[in-house]
């Protein structure tokens, strides 16, 4: 029984190019207060184009309707629970949007004199300090633009320190449960990747690790809690094993929402860590970006951080560009400042106690879902879970219904699907992360939907395999999209 949603009409809308007509405009420009110049005469006629063929021509009303109609075809956190595991789809407070648009911040130019940018610099310094306290690390760079960008930065920092110590080493160890960005980032930093299998309980196999770590290993990249939502209970032993051989422990902070205020990576042996401000610190995902991926490090890595670094000069903030050991820049300017503002607003709003409470709620919600759904779905790793829980589709697959099908049916019940088929160590994974955002009412609706779908699989598997039914777009042919790519509109 579907109780959360019922269908309503949605507007059709063609592409901008199809609804254009010559001469329509939606813009306004002031009259030019200086003499016009002839582009061809000024730039050379060979340098000047005639027009932009196919570019849109619509009115203001058509433009706003166009994008508003498109918007109604999206599901969003503002509609309801978004249980994508490891994506931490929590509520995005609107106060964050408001403060990021304050004129003196939003219109600050990165090259305006330091004396006239003290407010921006103070915001960054305060955020650096807060993230260092939350993670238990010694220094933070805010420059990386996203999580994967932070990974690359972090591995470059490890490489730089090891190089300084005489040997950059050859490889990075990565558990088979890791995000795909981990190996891809290690490769750009010039390392070979060695995948290490998880233990039967889904955590790092410390004995196997001890066998693998030698003078060629630069670091272990680990996500903690891992992508099963399980805390790596042997993390301190792992750190000891690595450190004894001169290797480093890198932590992917994708799942930091399970730890804030409870445990700090810096206290359990992590050398380098990236955080995802668009996950743990509530900045909006925006349909796939922008994010920010600050990197927090222990003291020995500090000289290698990207330039410039903020430094105190008397009573003012200043930039230090002259750092000879720095890995260099990973991005122009100072980072995704607008995202940093939003993350700091979140930290200020919660404060120390509030951040810890959020963690408790996030973990409680995931444990509650697990308890309620365990009778209906296979739980391949029974270790205690933290902020997310991973089931497998084993029982449903026996009736021909896979995790992807269950996910599509969940859409009909008014929810965004969980993360499908990840982590790869679980065959047919259903990875569910509710975050602290959800209250019991929404959680119970979700649980009821999942139980109802499990029953549908037993009664009428075909019903689930053809879902969704209630969306304006039915199941999309992704195979044809990849086989015959059409990546832009062209006139008929």
């Amino acid at each position: 029984m579907i109780s959360k949603v019922r269908p309503h009409l949605s507007q059709n809308e063609s592409l901008l190019f199809e609804r254009s007509s010559p001469g329509k405009i939606a813009y306004q420009l002031p009259a030019l207060d200086v003499p016009a110049v002839d582009p061809a005469a000024t730039l050379g006629s060979a340098n000047v184009r005639s027009e932009i063929p196919g570019f849109p021509e619509v009115s203001e009303v058509e433009a706003i309707r166009h994008f508003t109609r498109l918007s109604t075809w999206n599901y969003a956190i503002d509609h309801g629970m978004y249980p994508l595991g490891s994506c931490t789809m929590k509520y995005n407070p609107r106060i964050n949007e408001l403060v990021a648009r304050i004129e003196g911040l939003a219109w600050a130019h990165p090259y305006q004199p330091e004396a006239l940018a003290q407010g921006s610099m103070e915001v960054m310094a305060r955020l650096e300090a807060a993230l260092a306290e939350i993670s238990g690390m010694d220094a933070v760079t805010l420059q990386p633009a996203a999580g994967a960008h932070g990974e690359l930065t972090g591995i470059l920092l490890i490489r730089a320190l090891l190089e300084k110590r005489g040997n950059p080493r050859k490889k990075i160890l990565i558990p088979d449960s890791a995000h795909g960005t981990n190996p891809a980032s290690a490769a750009i930093a010039g390392y070979a990747v060695e995948n290490i299998p998880s233990s039967a309980t889904g955590v790092l196999d410390v004995a196997a690790l001890a066998q693998l770590v030698d003078r060629d290993v630069a670091a272990l990249m680990v996500t903690n809690p891992n992508t099963l939502g399980v805390f790596e209970e042997n993390i301190m032993q792992a750190a000891e094993i690595l450190h004894a051989k001169g290797a480093m422990l890198y932590m992917d902070g994708a799942n930091m929402n399970a730890l804030v205020g409870i445990a700090r990576p810096g206290d359990f042996g992590v050398d380098v860590l990236h955080l995802n401000l668009h996950k743990t610190f509530s900045t909006p995902h925006g349909g796939g970006g922008p994010g920010a991926g600050p990197v927090a490090v222990k003291k020995p890595f500090e000289p290698f951080l990207p330039v410039p670094r903020l430094k105190r000069s008397g009573k003012k903030w200043a930039y230090d560009y002259r750092r000879k050991h720095s890995i260099g820049r990973v991005r122009a300017f100072y980072g995704n400042f607008g995202v940093l503002v939003r993350a700091l607003a979140y930290i200020l709003a919660h404060g120390g106690p509030g951040l810890r409470n959020a963690t408790v709620d996030a973990v409680l919600n995931a444990v509650y879902i697990r308890k309620q759904l365990e009778p209906y779905f296979d739980l391949p790793y029974p270790s205690p879970n933290m902020h997310e829980v991973v089931f497998s589709d084993e029982r449903q697959a026996a009736l021909g219904v896979r995790t992807g099908d269950l996910a599509k049916r969940l859409i009909d019940y008014g929810f965004h699907p969980y993360t499908v088929s990840f982590p790869m160590i679980v065959h047919g994974a259903l990875m569910i992360e509710p975050t602290e955002t959800e209250g019991k009412f929404e959680l119970d609706q979700f649980i009821a939907a999942m139980i109802s779908i499990a029953k549908e699989v037993e009664d009428d598997p075909q019903l689930v395999k053809n879902a969704p039914y209630g969306t304006r777009t039915s199941r999309v042919d992704e195979v044809t999209a990849a086989r015959k790519p059409v990546l832009r509109w062209r006139p008929a």
């Binding site: 939606a26 960005t181 796939g288 970006g289 408790v360 965004h416």
Partner: protein, 422 residues
């Protein structure tokens, strides 16, 4: 809920964590504050920044008006609070907008295909270079010194450990365009990519065609970089390029002290499978209606892991949406008029000064003055932020300022700049 979980206290949720690593004290952060206090805090910080100044800074970040429609659209929760559109059936809004974005970037750049956006222009450059390395099987990179200095720094950071030697070639001391002879001397058969920017860092429309000829003769690809997207409305598209890598900040993305912005990569059909980042493609749903979805993901890290074309995971969807709305609002006619206004303003200002270089420029130019810092100080007293002193990036131009004028530059302010510099 705790009871349903069989627990007596919230601490039990964490009882499986080893005692030794648990935090035994509260975080050393002040207690939470209310909305009003948060707004107040950030207003105070904003007050410590420049307020009420006219600015002639450009250099990769431009001061253009943001049409009101842009925030009206990107503030909608359906766009703001959604995830990467993996679930196509309930993400057609984002997917359709990205498909339009990809199309308009192709129309502007003259390329066949564009991706769903990159972090920014500076990181798009190393990604474009990696594409060229994969496509040519060669590894050497030549980049013009007239490419944005911070973009070159980012390229060096990325290239260092990938066995991609990066060398620079110079610019004509008079014209400010690339030194084609220097490029000809340095290019060889091992060169994978030649990277030029147009308009270049000095604002000058550069010799894209000649650079393409030199690159192609040696089997290298030409990568054309841009930082001022408005110029694309007026300038001949870089059709001779193999890859275009640029920054869209000018398209309704507020300067925001340097980010978040959105970069682009556009290229020719034959290099599609070498592209990094997300791509949206057209297809149909099971009822035969047109639909869009993320596609060609076998290039990407979540499938290919360490063998992927890039480690990039997401794009800058919301920022790219700002640019999409901007392009829809300005449209064919408005974008051209906007570009012409920029050209007129910059040339009005330049006519009263003496540009350092003779090459044709769009909305930025370099001027030479005995003391750039002194000039800027005098301008600050008149509530004007002057140009960017070039000493930090170009020791040979330590007596130079890079000035930018856009449609938002007022005639009276430009007259003041001209007076102070006279």
């Amino acid at each position: 809920m705790l009871e349903a979980c069989g627990m007596a206290s919230p601490d039990e949720l964490f009882s499986h964590l080893p005692e030794a690593l648990r935090l035994k004290r509260p975080l050393d952060l002040p207690p939470g504050i209310s909305e009003y206090e948060i707004v107040d805090y950030f207003r105070r910080r904003a007050a410590e920044n420049a307020n009420g100044y006219a600015s002639f800074l450009g250099a990769g970040v431009y001061h253009h008006f943001r049409p009101v429609l842009v925030d009206a659209v990107v503030s909608r929760g359906e766009f703001l609070t959604s995830y990467t559109p993996y679930q196509a059936e309930i993400s057609q809004g984002t997917l359709t907008a990205i498909f339009e974005f990809q199309t308009m970037i192709c129309q502007l750049t003259g390329m066949d295909v564009a991706n769903a956006s990159m972090y920014d222009g500076s990181t798009a450059v190393p990604e474009a270079v990696s594409m060229a390395v994969r496509a040519t099987g060669k590894r050497r990179v030549l980049i013009a010194r007239s490419v944005h200095p911070e973009y070159r720094e980012v390229l060096r950071t990325y290239a260092r450990h990938q066995a991609m030697p990066v060398e620079e070639f110079g610019y004509q001391p008079d014209a400010g365009t690339i030194d084609l002879e220097d490029l000809d001397r340095k290019i060889d058969d091992l060169t994978a990519a030649v990277v030029v920017q147009s308009p270049n860092f000095f604002g000058i429309v550069d010799h894209v065609k000649a650079a393409a000829d030199l690159a192609h003769r040696r089997g290298a690809l030409l990568i054309v970089v841009f930082t001022e997207a408005v110029s694309l409305a007026l300038l001949e598209p870089p059709a001779d390029a193999d890859i275009v890598a640029g920054e869209l900040q000018s398209f309704a993305i507020s300067p925001s002290y340097g980010g978040p912005f959105a970069g682009i990569i556009a290229t020719r059909e034959k290099f599609i499978r070498q592209m990094p980042g997300r791509l949206v493609g057209q297809t149909t749903d099971s009822r035969g209606n047109r639909a869009f979805c993320l596609t060609l993901s076998t290039r990407e890290q979540h499938i290919r892991r360490e063998k992927a074309t890039s480690n990039i995971c997401t794009n800058q969807a919301l920022i790219a949406l700002m640019a999409t709305v901007f392009m829809a609002v300005y449209g064919k006619q408005g974008l051209r008029e906007l570009a012409e206004q920029n050209l007129a303003k910059a040339h009005y200002l330049a006519a009263r000064l003496r540009p350092r270089f003779t090459g044709p420029f769009f909305n930025e130019f370099v001027i030479q003055t005995a003391s750039p810092d002194k000039i800027n100080k005098s301008l600050l007293k008149k509530k004007i932020i002057g140009g960017l002193p070039l000493a930090r990036f170009y020791p040979e131009l330590s007596d130079c300022l890079l000035l930018c004028a856009t449609e938002t530059s007022r005639r009276a302010d430009m007259d003041t700049v001209a007076e102070v510099l006279a």
